[in-house]
């Protein structure tokens, strides 16, 4: 008997407004195989997963689960056709025990089931044992470690014995030991004859498990093959590492505040509940220096920036010009000149471009504010033309420029840019890149840049830190980065 493909996707397309999130996607997974779907943040891989599961409705295209066309169905019907999903974030019922949480997934979709079927209980116990939750069956989720919460999600997803299993970032937030245990579990599920889709950021994390890898970028498929083939693929390398990288680093000794750098982050640790987001991170930034923190999505960049901005509780210390920022409110830190451009942009979308800028400069005297706006319109000429337009109607790239411009209205000493290139087309990147070069050459501003796009980050960096799984794993000049880190980064 020829193995029938359990999941087959063809021509899948999804638009959000003017943005094409997924374009003509095609993939197929046979029974007993694992496909890795990888792509940088914003590439559309999560959307693909949601389209398959019916959480989002595809605009066009076909999704076949076990041979049945399910595109456009509501997700509960797709689930009943034999598809299951393991969400990245666990949201169990907190007032119920682990066992009850698993039992929930076993219940039929009927309003007439008013008594608990004893067989359900036995079945739930079998599933719990399989994923390794048998010791904590009667505990409540709130008392469990992070890895066990992920196990509850897996248990729920496999409760109905789905033939197609979608797993979103299987190893996010897990320790190496837990990752190994999880990998074994995923292999077992594959050996049952399921078709498994693993969605993750890079090849490295899933290479050991997958039969094939499909790489996405800006909504499109850019490569498919074995893990090795995809890692060697030119397009993939260009997306992750960029092409030729020009660097223009200034040596660290060139900065005059060598003894006490402008910003010092000292042994910083941050926890989100039980998941550790930052582990003993130490970095420093000199006045007027451009420092890049490079790392994949989920490595902890945003957490680091939020801690510096005073938005998160942390252990360790953050010092500005030698004095601690602990106890200073987020608003005071921003007014003091440490200004963050958040990844989500957070523009006031119903206000015009000009109003957004005026708001950023509202603490400045009127004349100074006008002068600053003029300078910014010089820096980002497109914003001058868009002055009267609502921020929500701008393209992604224009919104990013406006975010940076609004932050600059506050005349920051240290500008923190969190993933400014997220989801942007190359031509826009160039414009933002030029603006950064100009800032660097003509102003005394200090910049801390968080990026997963190395091509964008390196030319603007005097120094680079690599953040991986909550830790700083590498530090050095941008020129050395390509040589030493290039292959390990994929």
């Amino acid at each position: 008997m020829a193995a029938e493909a359990h999941l087959e996707v063809k021509g899948l397309t999804k638009r959000f407004g003017g943005l094409v999130a997924v374009k003509e996607m095609a993939l197929s997974i046979e029974a007993g195989k694992i496909l890795g779907l990888i792509g940088p943040n914003g590439s559309g891989k999560s959307t693909v997963m949601k389209l398959i599961m019916g959480i989002e409705r595809p605009d066009t295209g076909s999704v076949r689960v076990n041979g049945t066309e399910v595109a456009g169905w509501p997700s509960h019907r797709i689930a009943r056709m034999g598809a299951g999903i393991v969400f990245q974030h666990s949201r169990p019922l907190h007032r119920q025990t682990v066992l009850e949480n698993i039992k929930l997934a076993l219940l039929p979709d009927k309003l007439t089931r008013l008594f608990v079927d004893p067989a359900t209980d036995d079945h739930a116990r079998v599933i719990a044992k399989r994923v390794g939750l048998d010791a904590v069956l009667d505990r409540r989720p709130g008392t469990l470690p992070f890895a066990d919460l992920r196990k509850i999600e897996i248990a729920k997803a496999i409760a109905r014995n789905p033939q197609v299993l979608l797993i979103d970032e299987p190893f996010a937030g897990l320790t190496p030991a837990e990752t190994a245990a999880f990998s074994d579990l995923i292999c077992e599920l594959r050996d049952d004859g399921r078709a498994v889709l693993l969605v993750d950021h890079n090849v490295k994390s899933v290479a050991r498990l997958v039969d094939r890898v499909l790489a996405m970028y800006v909504g499109e498929r850019i490569a498919e093959g074995t893990a090795d083939e995809v890692m060697r693929n030119e397009t993939v390398r260009r997306v992750y590492l960029g092409g030729s990288i020009e660097t223009a680093a200034r040596p660290e000794s060139a900065f005059r505040d060598n003894k006490t750098p402008f910003l010092e982050v000292d042994k910083l640790s941050v926890f989100y509940g039980k998941a550790q987001a930052l582990d003993n991170v130490s970095i420093h930034v000199h006045a007027s220096e451009f420092v890049s923190v490079v790392g994949l999505n989920g490595a902890g960049k945003t957490t680091l920036f939020n801690a510096i901005s005073g938005l998160l509780p942390y252990s360790g210390d953050i010092r500005r010009e030698g004095s601690t920022l602990r106890g200073t409110s987020a608003a005071a830190i921003a007014r003091g000149g440490i200004v963050q451009c958040p990844e989500g942009r957070e523009l006031f979308t119903d206000m015009t471009v000009r109003e957004n800028l005026d708001l950023g400069g509202q603490h400045l005297p009127a004349a100074e504010s006008t002068e600053q706006i003029e300078w910014l319109f010089d820096l980002f000429p497109i914003l001058r033309a868009r002055q009267k337009q609502h921020a929500g109607t701008l393209s992604g790239g224009e919104q990013q420029m406006l975010t940076i411009a609004r932050a600059l209205m506050m005349k920051p000493k240290l500008l923190i840019l969190d993933e400014p290139t997220l989801g942007l087309a190359p031509v826009i990147l160039e414009q933002i890149s030029k603006a950064l070069t100009r800032l660097r050459e003509t102003t005394p501003i200090t910049v801390l840049l968080g990026e997963q796009n190395v091509t964008f980050a390196l030319p603007h960096a005097d120094r680079v830190y690599v953040l991986e799984h909550a830790r700083i794993v590498w530090e050095g000049g941008p020129a050395r980065f390509a040589a030493e880190m290039g292959t390990g980064y994929l």
Binding site: S75, H76, A79, L111, R113, R140, A159
Partner: protein, 308 residues
């Protein structure tokens, strides 16, 4: 600390109800009257908690369902004087029908818009009652020719056992497999859908059950009071009182709502001497409970901690 099991809670509740059944031997008719009102309010609040605490939908219009039941029963009695049970059944049916008509469009919208839709429904009903005065009695209210009984004790026992039975059904429903699916749908509709549950179907069912008990209680209430008026069964402030009762009693507990209702009625009686200030004091206390004991009275009693 482990919270109490379902059977133990029901057992304790049964003991309390039996004890309450002997109250007419000890207290005055006036107090029985207050408790009768409190018990009906308790059913309103429990029905509301099924929607909010379990299905996760904030219904700002519990009085739309109650009012529909109350007025349908009352108008039917005024016009044709059929047997009272028929009026009550018709009122209940009307509330369920009204609930479906309201829920179908309301469940299509998300978040605050669901609440807003239900709020508008109350305003529309209230407006209809005032405009269509020849049928509803308008602002003066509707005087109802029949009552179930003129005995305080009989009325009290009817309300008590009606509340006990409704409470048992709602409580058991909330803890049944269907209640579990409802909770999952309320907390994370996307995940519930991905687990194969038709979220809309379950929420609609919750709305119908809530409407059934609200309408039934509303219809019974008018035959106890002997009249129906917009200010007593439909007005937004009545709805707010019901919501407060459910919240301070303990959300997601069903039975707590009864405690909240009795507390509210008792407080407004105890504070009667201070006049208009009494509402202020009651609301302030409700605010304190919400801020400092989010699991409410029932949560304090059963010592189950609400994880956030």
């Amino acid at each position: 600390m482990q919270s109490l099991s379902t059977t133990r809670i029901l057992l304790i509740a049964l003991c309390v109800v039996i004890a309450a059944a002997f109250l007419p031997l000890r207290v005055t008719g006036y107090i029985l009257g207050l408790l009768t009102i409190a018990y009906y309010t308790g059913v309103f609040a429990m029905s509301w908690d099924l929607l909010f605490g379990f299905a996760g939908e904030v219904n700002f219009g519990p009085t739309f369902l109650i009012g529909t039941g109350a007025y349908t029963a009352g108008i039917l009695d005024t016009l044709y004087q059929p047997p009272i049970w028929l009026c009550v059944a018709a009122g209940t049916l009307a509330a369920v029908a009204g609930g479906v008509v309201l829920a179908l469009p309301a469940l299509r919208v998300r978040g605050p818009y669901f609440g807003l839709t239900t709020l508008v429904a109350v305003l529309m009903l209230e407006n209809f009652i005032i405009v269509d005065a020849h049928l509803t009695g308008g602002e003066n209210g509707l005087a109802i020719p029949d009552v179930i009984s003129i005995s305080d004790t009989v009325n009290y026992e009817i309300a008590l056992w009606f509340m006990a039975v409704s409470g048992a059904i709602l409580f058991w429903l909330a803890r049944s497999p269907v209640g579990l699916i409802l909770q999952a749908s309320g907390q994370d509709a996307v995940q519930a859908g991905a687990l194969g549950f038709n979220v809309t179907k379950h929420k609609l069912a919750a709305f119908i059950i809530s409407a059934f008990f609200s309408g039934l209680a509303g219809a019974l209430l008018v035959f106890y009071v002997g009249s129906a008026s917009a200010s007593s069964v439909v007005d937004i402030t009545v709805g707010v009182q019901i919501i407060i009762a459910a919240v301070i009693g303990g959300r997601r507990t069903i039975l707590g709502a009864v405690l909240g209702a009795i507390f509210l009625v008792a407080m407004s009686e105890a504070l009667r001497p201070i006049g208009d200030l009494s509402n202020f004091v009651v609301f302030a206390m409700a605010l304190l409970v919400v801020l400092f004991f989010p699991s409410g009275f029932f949560g304090l009693l059963t010592r189950s901690k609400e994880p956030n």
